[in-house]
Symmetry: C2
Subunit: 202 residues, 2 copies
């Protein structure tokens, strides 16, 4: 039986850590992120819901100097130093043939057949759900006491060729540095929209 | 100065609430979700990072019987009862003209000009970032002691016509019920992929 937490609002310091004080960092302290921490992030990300448990994300964690250099060369100029200075930058990609994995990821029915022959639909589903997983990724890293720096300024096709060479069905979505943020590298927060601006209750 | 939480791993019961014990519910207890709770979800969602603070999500919260019925009629058969029985189901849409808001959302530079005339790029950015916000939405609801039921089985075009009539530049992404999940409405968890299956460190 699953545990429920009805009406249990997380303590304010947890909400601060996840949402209110979490920031996108542009620079990083000289402190490494361990392989165990990368595993711990994934162990949270994979628990988040995806449509039919499709789990489309495929992640390349660029940790070595060589990998960071190769990625930075394919990023927009403003993102290069961020990638080179971060302990690790994850390339979050998505597999447009995720349905091949559904027989074991969603074993109680033939979900693979829902996607067979519908590549256009798979592309939309994989992009949506790997982006959802990107949201889990950012909050998972924060939940573990790490900071993130998500970026979409890079040459997607070139990154796919360079990092997903053996998996031509995997496309890059966005990249995200992980580490210990340098407080001097952030600016004031941008304004946030009030509920009534972008929401309506009907 | 922003508060930092370096190496502060959230307590295990918080990680349970957010990730390990959080589930997608198919049925709901007969207990309402208040307007204040919907506002509280948004107040967390809007803090999550989006590219250039674009905040593309536009949310219609279907709370009245009439709105639920209209939405349920446009959903796949398997999702109708879920929508009708949930206290509220949010339609998470995205504005492909989000760049019109950037002068106040990202005031320190002319970010609007980055997107002017590039509708194809805006569609990709809006879809990616509203899906990211969808990930924040699910975890925000859980952080507040609520459960979620995200769904993509519905007629997007028909929902856009029905619910975004006055905003033809807003497209539906996915829908998500919010409430207090009925523990009898869930099945065993589907398998989760080990790190080495979908990740590589280079």
């Amino acid at each position: 039986m699953t545990k429920q937490f009805h009406d249990n609002v997380l303590p304010s310091d947890a909400l601060d850590q996840l949402f209110f004080e979490g920031r996108t960092y542009n620079g990083w302290l000289d402190k490494p992120v361990s392989d165990e921490q990368m595993h711990a992030i994934w162990d949270l990300v994979k628990m988040g819901p995806t449509s039919a448990n499709m789990q489309p994300s495929r992640i390349v964690w660029c940790k070595s100097d060589d990998a960071k250099r190769r990625l930075a060369e394919l990023a927009s100029e403003g993102n290069r130093a961020k990638i080179l200075s971060a302990p690790v930058t994850a390339i979050i990609g998505y597999d447009i043939d995720f349905h091949e994995e559904l027989p074991w990821l969603f074993p109680h029915t033939d979900a693979k057949s829902w996607f067979d022959g519908d590549e256009a639909g798979r592309k939309v589903g994989a992009f949506r759900n790997s982006s959802l997983q990107g949201g889990y990724f950012i909050l998972a890293a924060r939940a573990l006491g790490l900071d993130t720096g998500p970026m979409s300024g890079f040459d997607n096709d070139a990154v796919d060729k360079e990092f997903f060479t053996d998996d031509p069905r995997v496309k890059s979505n966005f990249i995200c540095s992980v580490g210990y943020g340098d407080p001097d590298s952030i600016f004031d927060r941008s304004p946030r929209p009030d509920f009534d601006r972008f929401n309506v209750i009907v």
